[in-house]
Symmetry: C2
Subunit: 153 residues, 2 copies
DNA sequence: TCCAAATATAGGTGTCTTACATAGGTAGGA
DNA sequence: TCCTACCTATGTAAGACACCTATATTTGGA
């Protein structure tokens, strides 16, 4: 009884048709840190706000709670049980100074990553200006012979 | 004899000091596809050009060759042995039409991801305008009480 | 001529991340 | 009472990747 697992990054959905999800590894972490920097919150509530920042569909609660506990173990967030409000017990998290520092580091790294994506897309768009065949044949690019190894056929 | 493995995403390098590497999963794939769209090439040569597009240090040859063989199995690239040029035998790869289509899908997804990163950074920078303490204490954000559950303490 | 280094490809393996599954408790409405 | 929404949590396996080793060919230097 194996369910078709949704592929991690990409899958072919037809001839020449692909579904790609370029995902940042551990992207939930900076997102949670940011949300907590905006104000204390608990897991279930964080999940709601995560969905608007992550574009993936639903948030995986299991992994979210695991992440929160891991962050607390590292001293990046701190939590207290809140019994006052109605409903089930909530573990309310808030950001520590260390957590804020980690958020800063994430922001810097994400900025750099965005540049890298831009560089790739720039070269891609430069290519797009040439005509490209879309049938199943071999793509006729030029020869990459910028160092030894001629092979001009 | 365990070597300290370089952490996948982030690590603490001191009190309040973190090293973060926001990585796109499977980023080598669109990069290889782009390089092959620019011209046919072989594995070892691709590694050279990958280093300028990826910011990670050295490229892992093992994983690169595995990726190339996997791409070929899927019909996204095609290869031929080239004995003409000097040096050891080279497997020269070129992009197929399917591979070009996958590159298109990657480019679209990367564009979307860049937007998402921008959204996160926008909210982060909005936060930065407020003063934030950097000591080890609790970060004093506002209460996130936009639905039930008050807890104003 | 022998040896070392660069070129070029390839397989093995453990760890981290994560999709999917399941479970259990509280509270309110039909 | 049952159902649903809220809230937290654990188990598991697949996928991606860092690190390691092995192989063969060619080139250059001692």
């Amino acid at each position: 009884m194996r369910v078709d697992r949704q592929p991690r990054c990409r899958c072919r959905v037809g001839p020449g048709r692909f579904e790609v999800r370029a995902r940042i590894e551990r992207f939930a972490e900076p997102t949670v840190l940011l949300l907590l920097a905006e104000g204390r919150s608990h897991g279930y509530q964080l999940a709601d706000h995560l969905e608007e920042l992550l574009d993936e569909g639903r948030v995986d609660f299991g992994n979210l709670y695991r992440l929160l506990r891991a962050l607390e173990e590292e001293g990046l967030v701190a939590s207290t049980w809140s019994e006052e409000s109605p409903g089930p017990q909530k573990r309310v998290y808030e950001l520590t100074g260390e957590g804020a520092a980690l958020l800063d580091a994430w922001a810097a790294s994400l900025k750099a990553r965005r540049e890298r994506i831009g560089a790739l897309l720039g070269r891609y768009e430069a290519l797009e200006e040439r005509v490209r065949p879309r049938d199943g044949g071999i793509y006729q690019g030029s020869d990459r012979s910028d160092d030894q190894g001629g092979d001009p056929r």
